[in-house]
Structure formats: C-alpha cells, structure tokens
C-alpha cells in the first residue's frame, strides 16, 4: 500500500496547495474604483471619477468618494472604465448549437445545453464582455429559445442566465435555413424549405399554427372542450411571440427578407426585436426605424458568402442616423474578445460619435435584450458590470485590466499572470501522479495537435457542418 499512500498524499497536497482557477476569482464584494476616466455610455466621459459598487449595484459615481469600511479599492489612475460589453449574438458555452433536423425547432432552447466549463467564457471576459445573448444557430426558419447570460465564470450554471431578461427565440432567413451551403445527404429528401419563398411561408405557417393552438387553449379554458389540449412545446414560444412576450432575434442578410419578416410580424401584430446580422439593413433603415426593430450587426464582415456581398461598414452609421437602435455583435468566440475595436470602427465609417459607438456594444445590446434597466451603462442603481482598461477602449494598444460583474472580479490581468504560474505548478504536480503517467505499455491515443479551435463560425466559414448536422449557422 506504500505506493497508494504516497499517491493519496500527493493528491492531498495538491488540493491543499493549489486552487482551481475558478476558485481563484475573488468573490463578490463591495468595490471602489478610484480616479478613473469613466465612459458612462449615457452621460459622457468623466475624468478623475470614482465608482462605488455595493451589493452588486453601482451606488455612487463621483469624485473623491469616501471608501466605506471593508470595501476593496482599485486604483484606476490613468485607466478607463466602461460598462461591461454585451454581445447580442453568441453561440459560446453551448454543447449543441443547432437542432437542424426540422424547419421549426422552437421547442428547443440553449438553456438546456449551456456549458459553464467552456474556456471561451474566460477569454471573452478578458476582452471585457460581461453578458451575451446565447442563441440557437440559424439552420432552420425558426430555431430554439435563447438564453441571456452574464459570464460568471467559475459559478454554477444556474447563475449564468439573467433571471429577469425577457425570453427570446431565434428566427433565420436566407441561405442557412434553406440549406444553401450544406452538403446534401445521399438518399435523403432535402428539407423544406429550399427557397426564400419557402422560408417566409414556413414562418407564416408556424405563426398561424400557434394562433390556432392558442385558440384551442382559449376554448378549453372557456369550457368549450373537455380534454385539455396538448401542451405543445414547439408552439408555446410562438404564442408568446404573438402575444409580444417573447423577443424574436431574426438572423438574416438580405434587406428584402428582413423587411418581409417585419411585414409578417405586422400581420400578427408583434415587433421583431432584433434583425441579427442585418448587413444590408442600411438599405431599409427608414422601414426598420418605423417598425421599431433593433439591428445587431458586424462592423466589417462581408463578402464571405453571397448574401453578405453588399455588407458595408457604414451600415451602423446609416441605421444610427435613422434612429435605429444598433448593436455590434460577434457571432464568434474569437471576435467576441475584441468588440471594442469593432465599435471603434463606426467612428471611422460614417462618423458615429464616440458615446454612440460605445453604446453599440453596451447599452444598445442591453436594450435589444431587454436588460437595459439593470446593465449596459454606468449609472447609479445599475448592476456593477464594468471593465477597467489600460487606455482608451477604442485604442488597439489598450488591454482589459479587470472585468467586474456585479462587483465581483471575473478577470484580472494580474490575477491571470498569477494563475499561469499556479497552473504550471499544478500541472507539474499532477503529471507526477501515477494516474497521469503512462504505464510501461498501453494504448490510448496521444492528443493530435489542434491548430484551429473550431468555433461555429469557423465551421460555417469553411462550409462544414457542425456535429449537430446543423451546418452553416452564421
């Protein structure tokens, strides 16, 4: 048993001496950020300003705030503070992205498959992202329900969804739902729809079915029928859509399609919450403004597929000029880490003012997701979701120093440096354990060196199907 005892001791040492990275984050406590250049996103930029966060909320903003007892103080002299970045279109932290089997999959939802161990969460925090709209993919005309989360890395899954965020559902138009870029399966009948004509009819049909379904329930509740109707998980969310209780996030590129969807929504008397991507939205900016729909775009992705060929970086500017609420999203685990630089570009392309540009990655996505009452700007009473930057957030030379959600630090560059040392030590200790050493003989495959992290967007760019058979989702 000597060997076993030694092994056990080693494990004990490990547990005692080293903490897991998740546990290494400081827990929520009251924080006073001192002497920063604060970009509030609503009331301009304030020099030499302090922000006090207590019990997760911003309680004071001003100069020379006295530190209450026990509060942690961060000296941000020479640094910038912005609201936490909110990504209005992400598929990160998901174990499945598309339920691609059917054309309407509103019964599914990303909440069921959130993965809080996905390292991309931490990397997003290192890019200043505090909240995101975790969407179903775009493989079908109507996809699954979304989850609006805060990136509380190291917390249990149930801490991620923002409890009071209004629910939403994914719609998709164009090449993806009609499977333009998917490999046909030999011997399998292509899925309906195959055209844009069919896509919009699929939406119409689903909404009509939802209306009829609601009628069944109304009749039952009115005592007209005896047997309770089937609880239909596909149609329940669509009833909520018609009732205006569930936000529609509609993936699409071509302006005509987005316009047609808005017209369809008008028929059913609801508003589309966001046009996702909307890379041609500038062509119909006045109509979008009139419908009261938000648009969530890329600043400078274009020409990667035909329906993105008319994308222009001035999209944000034209929409903004028309009074549309615009956000800039990533749809990518990679791009999510640098949304600040994407926002900077709208100053260049057209000349959106700085604060309005900042709003496109903070307050506007919060509005589009219905969480602007609690986050998206630096105001007293809002959640303490802030990012401390080494310099101006729109400068490429700036780094995120600290990312704070509700007063709790989830990323800190200095802690990160320490964490790397801890990880190296932990690895060294773990590799010495018998269980991690190869036996004299043995099978198991060595790990094939990965060169590319396959995000959903990567797959879609290269036209590969993802493991759900969903294919191109972007």
């Amino acid at each position: 048993m000597k060997k076993a005892t030694a092994y056990y001791l080693m494990l004990l040492l490990l547990v005692a001496g080293l903490r897991l990275p998740a546990a290494a984050q400081s827990k929520g406590q009251d924080v006073l950020i001192r002497n920063a250049t604060v970009m509030t996103a609503v009331k301009g930029t304030m020099e030499g300003t302090d922000i006090l966060i207590q019990n997760g909320k911003i309680t004071k903003i001003g100069k020379g705030i006295a530190a209450p007892a026990g509060v942690k103080t961060i000296d941000a002299t020479g640094k910038y503070v912005t609201p936490g970045i909110i990504d209005c279109h992400s598929h990160t932290m998901l174990d499945a992205i598309n339920e691609g089997s059917l054309s309407v999959t509103s019964m599914t939802g990303t909440r069921d498959v959130l993965n809080n161990t996905d390292i991309t969460i931490y990397r997003a925090l290192a890019g200043g992202v505090t909240a995101a709209n975790i969407l179903h993919g775009s493989a079908n005309s109507i996809g699954g329900k979304n989850t609006t989360v805060k990136f509380k890395w190291g917390h249990p899954i149930e801490d991620y969804p923002i409890a009071d965020a209004p629910p939403g559902v994914k719609f998709a138009l164009g090449e993806n739902p009609k499977r333009s870029n998917s490999q046909p399966q030999p011997g399998v009948q292509p899925r309906y729809p195959q055209t844009r004509m069919g896509v919009i009819e699929t939406d119409r049909d689903a909404l009509i079915r939802a209306r009829d379904y609601k009628q069944q329930w109304d009749d039952y509740r009115a005592g007209k029928t005896k047997v309770p109707p089937r609880k239909d998980l596909e149609l329940d969310p669509l009833v909520e859509v018609i009732e205006g209780k569930r936000l529609v996030h509609a993936h699409g590129y071509r302006s005509d399609e987005h316009l047609n969807l808005m017209l369809l929504a008008d028929e059913f008397n609801f508003k589309v919450a966001t046009l996702q991507h909307g890379l041609e939205a500038y062509k119909i900016a006045p109509e979008i403004a009139k419908h009261g729909t938000g648009v969530s775009i890329f600043t400078d992705s274009w020409s990667y597929k035909l329906e993105a060929y008319d994308a222009i970086p001035y999209d944000a500017y034209i929409l903004w000029k028309n009074g549309v609420v615009v956000s800039i999203n990533s749809d990518s685990d990679e791009r999510m880490r640098r949304l600040n630089l994407d926002a900077a570009k709208v100053e260049k392309y057209g000349g959106v003012p700085e604060q309005d540009a900042l709003q496109m990655i903070t307050l506007n996505p919060a509005k589009q997701l219905g969480i602007d009452k609690r986050t998206g700007s630096i105001e007293v009473g809002k959640d303490g979701d802030v990012v401390i930057w080494s310099g101006h957030p729109f400068s490429p030379y700036s780094r995120v120093e600290t990312t704070i959600i509700e007063g709790e630090t989830f990323f800190d560059r200095q802690l990160d440096a320490q964490h790397r040392i801890d990880m190296a030590k932990e690895r060294e200790a773990l590799e010495k354990l018998d269980v991690n050493r190869a036996p004299g003989s043995g099978g198991g495959p060595p790990r094939i060196p990965a060169e590319k992290r396959q995000s959903e967007r990567d797959r879609s760019e290269f036209g590969e199907d993802d493991e759900d058979g969903g294919g191109n989702n972007r």
């Binding site: 500038y282 990965a450 590319k452 036209g463």
Partner: protein
C-alpha cells in the same frame, strides 16, 4: 465622396492645371473616381505633415515629394518641385503603405457558396507551376476595399495540396495582373506536412477516414518523404536539362512543366513559403531548409517564437498570420497569439504580421498589428511589422516599406495613428499614383445613405 466636389475638382484638373496647387490639393483625393479608378500619376508634395518614415526618425513637420512613381524628397525643409500638386498635410501623418505578406487576395471573391468566384486551391498534390499571378482578379472588389484602408501591397498565394503553387507580390492597383505585379512569381507555397489538417484535427476531412495519432504521424512522415522525393526529382530534372543545354548529343530530356517550375526554388534562388504553425512543424521546416539548401519563409508561425534558434540558424523569417485566431488549447493563456509577435521580436526572429485572410478582411491588417502593440511589441515595431518588415521579407526592403528617397511611392496619408481603427485614411498613393478613396463599400454607402422611406 461628394459628387459636387468630384465635378468641381475634375473641372479644376481640366482647366486650371498650372494654377493653385493648393486648391488642387484640397480636392485631389476625389479626382480618381471621376477620371480613372486606377489612379492619377503626377508630382505631388505633401507639405506640413507629420512623416513617419519607419526607417528613421519621425519628422514632426515636413514634406514628402512624389514624382515619377518614386519618393524624391523627404524632410523638414525639402524643396518642392515647380508644378507639383501640393497636399496640405496639416494634422495628417504620412506613412509607407502597408504590406500584407500572407493573403489570397484576388483569388476568392466569395468563398462560401459561390465556387465560381474561388480560385485558391488547385486540385492535386503537386502544382508547382500554378501561379497566383494568373488567377488573381484585378477587378475584385477586395482590391479597392483593402487599399483605401492603407494597404498598398500584398502577397497573394494559392494554398491547395502539398505543393500549392507560386505566390505573387502585387500592388493593389492595376487593370491587369501585369500592372499589379511587383514579383509575379515570388515564392513556392508548400503546405508543410503536419499531423492535423487546416480544418478539423484527425484530418481526412468530412468524408475521409478519421485517423488516429499514429496514422497521422505515418501520413505526415510519408508526406515529408514525398516532398523530398519531389525535390530530388526536380533536382535531377534540372540537371538533365542543364546537361543537355551544354551537350546536345545527349538525349533530349522530356519537359515536365511541374518539375520545371521547381528549378529556381530547389536552387535557393527564390524563397519557398512553408505553411506551418506548430513548433515541431516549424523545427522540421528549419531542418528541411538546411538539408535541402533552400531559402525558406514560414507562413503561419503560431508557435515560431518557441523555436527561435532553429529559425535563426536556418535564416528563416516568419509571416505571422491572423493574430486574431482563437487560442487553440484550453490551457494556453488568452493572449497566446496576441503576445506572439512581441515574443518573436524579443527572440530575434525576423518576422512580419499578416492577416492570413482570403481577401475580405485584409484591410484589418493595421488593427492586427495594433493588438500586438498592446501585448509586448512596441508601437514602432508594430508599425514596422506591417511595413518595413514585410518589405524586407519579400526582398523589397530597398523598394518598399518606408518613406525614403528613391523608394517606390506607396504612401498613405491619414489623420492619426494608422494602426488605430478610428483613424481615417485621406490619401493613398501606389507607384506614385493618387488613388480614389472609393470602393464597393463607399459606392453602396453613397447609394443608400440618404434614402428615405417612400
């Protein structure tokens, strides 16, 4: 961008040529769109500008003179030739045009779903004779979109198979491939054999068999052997052709255009562009280059900083592509790639920064360099890594990449730090021609920016 100005300026150019260089200069950037999308040649003097020469000290207030396609004067007090069009550089900064040494620009207009627009990868394993120069579409919308953001020169290369073909160094201006080309046949692209493919690990592609580690090692090693054999065959081929040239009594050796294309590369006369990312693969490239006595350049180079000694010993520079890419391994730090250029600089590796992009987003080159500037590379080196360093790696250090007298006038004038996404490019010159700042983007913008609901 205003049509009123365009008309006005065109009139000015037509009728008042001798007059008022100052007035001309105000409208100068708009000329091209009216007259000629491939720009307007002339003698230009950018005055009162901040000049970031890159090669030497920055001149806070000076003049750059462009004439005959070249930079003819640079300095605080340069004399301005008579007849030169003056460009008021107050508040502006002059930079050398940026160079992206790792793109497929012009070879893939719409990569997904529009196969007809894609000419990146030839079929087959050995295509040494395939030339990007013959595939690049001079009228790709990516050309203008890229150059109006200050990128004036790119290497565009094919990337299919083991030996993919030859990359071309082109200026982003010209109606024909020949007009664009700086070095039509610059380098031979080899997808250096590796364990994982460029797509999913395990390699066989979507329909191919999934291979295990040992099979991948075998396949990789077999491919390296195949590569050596091709080099050997090419060597024998060149020798037999040479021998025949000297001695016509020998039997005439049949011509093989694929092997023929290898000759300058196996002899080390031109560089071979090895696409490799991982430390082990790059180490293997260094050994290959030394063993085969060829000239090598790494394209990719994710982990080049880890094998600095090998690279320096074999005199291999690195075109580091796509600093934006997601970090591959969970345990690697979040800034693994952001900090790589800084580490290469520190290790003394010759390198430059490239987007590695097919074309659409080559225009983001300055911002990719900017991020390196936030993670360990100095701002000056960040700028060099997209100007002088790529020029040197492309063998054009004496012609491009800095503002020096005698160099080709590939010049960008901007209203701020060129690596900052908020900065606006105000003038672009390629080969001394002033280019219109128009592109597919500005054209669509102009068409729709003032649209009202009916």
């Amino acid at each position: 961008m205003s049509s009123k100005l365009k008309v006005q300026s065109s009139k000015l150019v037509g009728s008042l040529a001798a007059f008022a260089a100052f007035a001309l200069s105000i409208f100068a950037q708009n000329d091209g769109s009216q007259q000629n999308k491939t720009g307007r040649a002339g003698t230009f003097a950018i005055v009162n500008a901040r000049i970031v020469t890159v090669s030497g000290a920055t001149i806070e207030n000076g003049t750059v003179v462009i004439s005959g396609g070249k930079i003819t004067a640079v300095g605080p007090n340069s004399s301005i030739p008579s007849g030169a069009e003056r460009i008021d550089g107050r508040g502006l900064t002059v930079f050398p045009g940026m160079i992206d040494a790792g793109t497929n620009l012009g070879l893939a207009e719409i990569p997904l779903g529009v196969d007809g627009s894609v000419d990146v990868a030839e079929t087959g394993n050995m295509n040494a004779n395939a030339k990007a120069f013959k595939g690049i579409n001079p009228h790709s919308s990516h050309v203008n979109v890229t150059r109006v953001n200050g990128i004036t020169t790119v290497l565009s290369y094919p990337n299919g198979g083991l030996i993919a073909g030859q990359g071309a160094v082109i200026n982003l201006n010209g109606s024909t491939q020949a007009e664009m080309a700086i070095i039509p046949e610059f380098g031979l692209v080899i997808n250096y054999p590796r364990l994982a493919g460029f797509g999913r690990g395990g390699g066989g592609g979507r329909f191919g068999p999934q291979l295990d580690f040992n099979q991948l090692v075998q396949r990789r090693d077999a491919q390296i052997e195949e590569l050596k054999k091709i080099f050997h065959d090419a060597d024998m081929y060149a020798k037999s052709k040479e021998a025949y040239a000297k001695d016509k009594t020998l039997p005439y050796p049949a011509t093989d255009i694929r092997l023929e294309a290898m000759t300058p590369y196996i002899r080390g006369e031109k560089p071979i562009l090895f696409r490799a990312e991982r430390a082990n693969d790059i180490k293997s490239v260094a050994k290959f280059v030394t063993d085969m006595k060829v000239k090598g350049i790494i394209i990719g180079g994710q982990e080049a900083w880890k094998v600095a000694d090998d690279l320096k010993k074999a005199d291999i520079p690195v075109v580091f592509t796509n600093i934006y890419q997601s970090v591959v391994r969970d345990d690697d730090p979040y800034d693994y790639f952001y900090s790589a250029p800084g580490k290469m600089q520190e290790a003394g590796i010759k390198f430059c920064i490239s987007t590695g992009d097919p074309g659409q987003e080559v225009r983001d080159l300055p911002y990719q360099a900017g991020i390196a500037g936030a993670f360990g590379l100095s701002k000056e080196d960040a700028l060099k890594s997209v100007t002088l360093y790529p020029a040197q790696i492309l063998g054009l250090g004496d012609k491009l990449g800095s503002i020096d007298v005698g160099k080709v006038a590939n010049i960008v004038v901007a209203d701020g730090d060129m690596l900052d996404p908020r900065t606006n490019v105000k003038y672009v010159f390629i080969n001394g021609k002033m280019l219109p700042l128009t592109s597919r983007h500005t054209e669509l913008f102009d068409s729709f920016k003032d649209r009202k609901a009916p």
